[in-house]
Symmetry: C2
Subunit: 102 residues, 2 copies
Amino acid sequence: MDRIFRALADATRRDIVRRTLGGEASVSELAGAYDMSFAAVQKHVAVLEGAGLVTKHPHGRERMVRGNLHTIQRAQALLERYEQIWRSRIDRLDELLADTGE
Amino acid sequence: MDRIFRALADATRRDIVRRTLGGEASVSELAGAYDMSFAAVQKHVAVLEGAGLVTKHPHGRERMVRGNLHTIQRAQALLERYEQIWRSRIDRLDELLADTGE
DNA sequence: CTAACATGCAACCATATGGTTGTAGATCAC
DNA sequence: GTGATCTACAACCATATGGTTGCATGTTAG
């Protein structure tokens, strides 16, 4: 989970995720989209791959990068648990107020 | 957004968020819960505060830490947009298949 | 008032991160 | 086959991060 959030904590990487969720792209296509070296973009893709946010699929001499929805959903599930914790606290407070009121 | 995800990319900080969403806690209460120095926990709280994931509220000599649901929801909204992008890609693919089928 | 406690902050250290350049292996185009 | 292209990977550098200790300040308790 550390790696997922860490990978998402960079605007370039989030943009790569966005692009590759919308449709797969080769590493060099991605590299062309940002104002940094090919190797830098490649490293970003590697970080995303390590976090499971994208997968790479060889196609000839290119590696097509695909966003992986499942990992996004894992992060979402965690945040939803947090929201649930918050709501249950409110419920407890409501209960407490109800008890006081009786 | 960088800071939000970066702050969440650490197990100790996620645990602090979880605890303080369930009910506020002082910095020293939090520090007692982890096997590291007070200053280290204090830094984690500062990172979370900088990301807007928690707020601090003076109460006597203590500072009570509260999880901030709103920031969690901002992160959720981003992930949901990603999910939406993915779904719209699938829709486009479906459309394409439908066209081919006709 | 004084001692103990809660916090903040600075200095320091080791390691991780994000970028660079350069080199080398595959694969495609001609 | 040869050159161009796509990718991978290593070495290197500056800065950020996560931890430590030590010290200063504010607040409560007795």
